[in-house]
Symmetry: C2
Subunit: 86 residues, 2 copies
């Protein structure tokens, strides 16, 4: 099983309303010293085995077509080595 | 500046409807070989400097009180080394 993780975050400079809401909520709960919060997505994909370089290209296509909004968001892909075939 | 990242994911065995929706959407876009998708949160906290062990305890409290639902979700905390004081 190849585990692939995609991180989707707002680009720097894009307002993150969910992060701002969390920052405000933390402050109202008494947590001092939180200067900023950004909330993104953490997406785990369980892919059928394949060559890592092909998988990366495929996952990049998924990000551009569905998982991220390239206008507002950045994405980062991490592919862990597949387990050896059994 | 200390950057702290919190990953919030559904516990194994808990149905993830957003992940299921993404899996279905990827399949309908023609992406074969996606056997499962889990969607979690990736939260970046910008904390005022402090001792790492105190920060970790503080962030664990934030997770239990606000950032995660301990009944359904797991969380993982990563604290990067703070920049040296200027």
């Amino acid at each position: 099983m190849a585990k692939t993780v995609v991180y989707v975050t707002y680009k720097r400079g894009v307002l993150d309303p969910q992060g701002e809401a969390v920052r405000g909520a933390l402050a109202s709960l008494g947590f001092q010293g939180v200067r900023g919060v950004r909330v993104g997505k953490y997406i785990e994909l369980d892919l059928a085995n394949g060559r890592p370089e092909e998988q990366r290209a495929e996952v990049e296509k998924m990000c551009r077509q569905l998982l991220a909004n390239p206008v507002l968001e950045d994405f980062r892909i991490e592919i862990s080595p597949s387990a050896p075939p059994e």
